[in-house]
């Protein structure tokens, strides 16, 4: 995956800046790829099942919702924001789809129609949560951390209220079919959709005004505003995008399980943030790459699946994610400090 020239974490000035920028980016993605391969090797050595088609298919299936959340999180983090609500939104959207589809199914609506309406409802729920986040941040002036913490709590609570805390099963058979039929050996329909979303998200981030303005806002919102960019409107769109992708992730989890689980989103925001940050997005804003996020999501998913395969209790997952975030941020800060020493003597 390549990159636009605007967003870089390039170090010192040099004679051939373009070649240098390319080299640095390449190096970062190469390192991430190496880390991923090392993970796969490690877990395979611990348990050979890890390196089977079945395990890979599973990792890809787990990766799909994570990468969707992480794509949104990448945009948000590049604007110097954070979206803590995506996990809760995933859960709320998933159960909204499940409830809608079940009640349509029970009232005699055809399977495919019920499915389409349910998916639309889930996406609208995601968009709505994102819109609330965007408005709280830009119009009310809350810090992204506070605003999305509030919607995270509200979303998770609402999910429990509408489900009564239990799984929502009982949809038409199309649900499981759609979510689990495999093409080309590995790809399910949700995975194909994820790949399309990924390509579009990458193009938009690195090749369009929308992407360019995302970097500009995170880099210096005041300068962006002075350049005529509608910063508030752009931020609302970004949080709506993040919410929409969380809604889509909720649909995928629902399709895969065949039922709506009120707890399916729990802690997923941290996994998504870990993916973006491991992939090189800076929590201070202004930098991040879609290729890095893809690799970051692969690494986090592989670690989580691998730990389960080698028999680590699932409760350790959150701990591991926390450690991954801390390590990634520390590495970023150390290299940023080095780069700063390198520059500044211009």
């Amino acid at each position: 995956m390549s990159h636009g020239p605007s967003a870089t974490t390039a170090a010192a000035p040099a004679g051939s800046p373009r070649a240098r920028v390319t080299a640095v980016l390449l190096r970062q993605d190469v390192i991430l790829l190496a880390v991923f391969i090392a993970m796969v090797a490690f877990f395979t050595a611990m348990n050979p099942v890890f390196f089977s088609r079945f395990a890979f298919a599973n990792i890809l299936q787990d990766w799909a919702p994570i990468i969707l959340l992480a794509i949104g999180e990448t945009y948000v983090i590049i604007t110097a924001g954070i979206d803590l609500s995506v996990g809760a939104t995933l859960g709320l959207s998933g159960v909204s789809a499940a409830l809608t589809i079940r009640s349509l199914h029970e009232s005699g609506t055809g399977g495919s129609t019920a499915l389409l309406i349910g998916i639309a409802v889930a996406l609208l729920v995601g968009l709505a949560v994102g819109a609330v986040n965007g408005v709280l941040i830009t119009r009310v002036g809350l810090a992204p951390f506070i605003a999305t913490l509030a919607t995270m709590g509200a979303g998770a609570g609402l999910t429990l209220v509408v489900t009564g805390g239990v799984q929502i099963a009982g949809g038409p058979p199309e649900v499981i079919q759609l979510g689990n039929t495999q093409y080309l050996g590995l790809l399910t329909l949700p995975l194909i959709v994820v790949l399309v979303v990924l390509v579009v998200a990458w193009l938009v981030l690195h090749q369009t005004r929308f992407g360019r303005w995302t970097y500009a806002i995170g880099s210096n919102a005041f300068a962006a505003r002075g350049s005529g960019i509608g910063v508030d409107r752009h931020l609302i769109k970004i949080y709506m995008l993040s919410g929409l992708l969380a809604g889509l992730a909720g649909v995928f989890v629902y399709l895969r399980l065949g039922s709506g689980s009120p707890t399916s989103g729990q802690g997923q925001e941290l996994t998504a943030i870990a993916a973006a940050v491991i992939g090189g997005s800076s929590l201070f804003g202004g930098s991040g790459r879609m290729s890095g996020t893809v690799l970051g999501a692969l690494i986090t998913t592989a670690v989580l699946s691998g730990l389960i395969l080698i028999g680590v209790a699932p409760n350790w997952q959150q701990v591991v994610i926390g450690v991954l975030i801390a390590v990634a941020v520390a590495v970023q800060q150390i290299s940023a400090r080095r780069a700063q020493k390198g520059a500044g003597r211009g």
Binding site: G4, P5, S6, A7, T8, A10, A11, A12, P13, P17, R18, V21, L203, Q207, T208, R209, F210, R212, W213, Y215, A216, G218, S219, N220, F222, A223, A224, R225, G226, S227, G228, I229, G230, G286, S287, A343, G344, R345, G346
Partner: protein, 262 residues
């Protein structure tokens, strides 16, 4: 300079809560004229800049561009009308390249179908940014460098080059020579001369009075939100200018003798 001003503010007032930042302020600039705007800290210079550039709406007063009354609901509208502003300490996005900054908010799209899909013309923007910075007299043409890798002086040069490149009528510079060394300041002042030659109206805000006296045609002095002097630069000496700014002379007449050279 007998013709009508290209850009004019009349009777501008602006308060922040109970703080009166500007009170009944007039300011005008003609095409090909550099007007210096000076005053102590808190005199209201930056506030006036924000009103002129559309970032703030005045509580009272009116703006006139080319003799027509205009009002800006956003900085974007003022930019569209040909008014470029370089804000104090705000100029650039450090994570973008020089070219990305020059084109920020005005990105050029590719031709054909790809352009219709919204894809950026990275190469075209780099080429034009290079040409424009060159034309503005700025010797920084490696436009694919990231701005955070530049020194403070280089960043300022890019910010000014960008404003000059886009300005069609007026360019407003809020303390562009702040934090710059002598040589770099000299470059900034030269860029201002070039802007004047191109027929732009230039508003130059600075605390460095020798720079103001060297480059401007006329000086407007703000004190506590009011205009206390608006005279040709030739009627000030460094000493009298300082007195008007600080208010140590009771009025302009006290510090500028009647027979001052006009």
């Amino acid at each position: 300079m007998a013709d009508a001003p290209i850009y004019e503010a009349r009777g501008i007032s602006k308060s922040y809560g109970s703080v009166v930042a500007l009170e009944d302020v007039d300011l005008s600039v003609h095409a090909g004229e550099v007007v210096g705007l000076v005053g102590d800290n808190g005199a209201g210079k930056s506030t006036l800049v924000k009103v002129l550039s559309g970032a703030h709406q005045p509580d009272a007063g009116s703006l006139h561009l080319d003799g027509q009354e205009r009002s800006w609901r956003s900085p974007h509208e003022a930019l569209e009308a040909g008014i470029e502003t370089l804000y104090q300490d705000s100029g650039l996005c450090p994570d973008l390249t020089i070219s990305g900054n020059v084109f920020l908010g005005r990105e050029k799209l590719r031709g054909g179908l790809l352009g219709k899909l919204g894809l950026l013309d990275h190469r075209g923007m780099a080429r034009i940014a290079h040409e424009e910075l060159d034309r503005a007299g700025i010797g920084l043409t490696e436009v694919r460098r990231t701005v955070k890798d530049l020194s403070g002086g280089q960043r300022q040069a890019v910010a000014i080059g960008r404003a000059v490149a886009w300005a069609r009528k007026v360019i407003i510079l809020d303390e562009p020579t702040n934090h710059l060394g002598a040589r770099q300041s000299g470059e900034v002042l030269r860029v201002m001369d070039k802007a004047r030659e191109r027929g732009l109206g230039v508003v130059f805000i600075s605390h460095t009075l020798p720079h103001v006296l060297q480059v401007t045609d006329r000086i407007v002095v703000l004190r506590l939100g009011r205009v206390v002097a608006d005279e040709p630069t030739s009627s000030f000496s460094p000493d009298t200018l300082l007195k008007v700014i600080t208010g140590l002379g009771r009025s302009t007449a006290d510090v500028i003798p009647e027979d001052a050279p006009a």
